[in-house]
Amino acid sequence: MRLIRILVAAAIIVAVPALSATAAHATIKGPCRASGTINGATYTATQPSAVIPRTGDVKWKGSVSTGSGKRNIEGKVYLKLPPPFGKIVIGNGSWNGPSSSYSNSGTYHYDLPSVLVGPKFTLFGHHSERGNVVCTGSIDLRIAGSRLKNPALIASIVLTILALVNLSLVIRAKGSRA
């Protein structure tokens, strides 16, 4: 009984701060601007979070307001996953090499699967000029839709219940019929 109390106390001490802690997401730092328009709604880099449709065409724009001439640039737009997983670069959100351009724009079509409805993603981005990171930014994203219609979530809940039943059987001693 004492062991259970210790375990519960340890779980509370670890889980409560970790669950309640929220990363302070600065939206964008540096002399850069970025925005995207999806189905007429414009999302800028100054907002901390956004809910976007699951399918659409995003008209994106990005610019650096300082510097001139040709130089080496590098940049990425990516999702961070928990350790030990790394980063996932989104679509064609990666650039590298010599460039004399200081702004860019385009249209990107995306069609995300329904299993991604519900999770909270934090999208990160950075831009480097001549080997130095000059801009960083992040935005919290969620895909519009009901998370209860997410088949992966339903399957996960069922599997969680089965795992709980399995673990409850583990606490019986071997050879007992109770």
């Binding site: 062991l3 375990l7 779980a11 670890v14 889980a15 970790a18 669950l19 990363a23 999702l79 961070k80 996953l81 928990p82 350790p83 030990p84 299993v115 519900g118 999770p119 909270k120 993603f121 934090t122 919290d140 969620r142 998370r147 997410n150 992966a152 979530l153 996960s156 809940i157 599997l159 969680t160 795992a163 709980l164 399995n166 673990l167 583990v170 606490i171 019986r172 001693a173 071997k174 050879g175 007992s176 019929r177 109770a178």
Partner: protein, 109 residues
């Protein structure tokens, strides 16, 4: 018979529970996808499952009381002269050989 728990099953079961709870938390949007909770939870539940499997508190039979056996007198070997196998009384002791020449004891009267 000594009763044991199921530590390996507890370890695997705890880890699986952690993975599925991770999926629940992430897919329901309760924690962010880059949260460190998703890394900690399976490890914590793995350890909890292992400990619960080792402990296995349910269904254990109470250990027999040892005070009773210690109060008993020490064992004594069965005497050869004791009755065996259905005998109801001890065999008669070997009688001393009677001598017909010996006169009976004199009566006091």
């Amino acid at each position: 018979m000594k009763q044991r728990g199921r530590p390996v099953r507890g370890l695997i079961g705890g880890f699986l529970l952690g993975i599925f709870l991770d999926l629940d938390l992430a897919l329901a949007g309760i924690v962010k996808l880059d949260s460190v909770v998703l890394t900690i939870l399976p490890i914590v539940l793995l350890v909890v499952g292992l400990l619960l499997g080792l402990w296995a508190p349910l269904g254990r039979k109470p250990e027999p009381a040892r005070t009773l056996s210690s109060s008993l007198p020490p064992a004594v070997p069965w005497p050869e002269s004791a009755p065996t196998g259905g005998a109801t009384s001890a065999p008669a002791p070997p009688s001393s050989p009677a001598t017909p020449d010996e006169p009976p004891p004199a009566s006091p009267v």
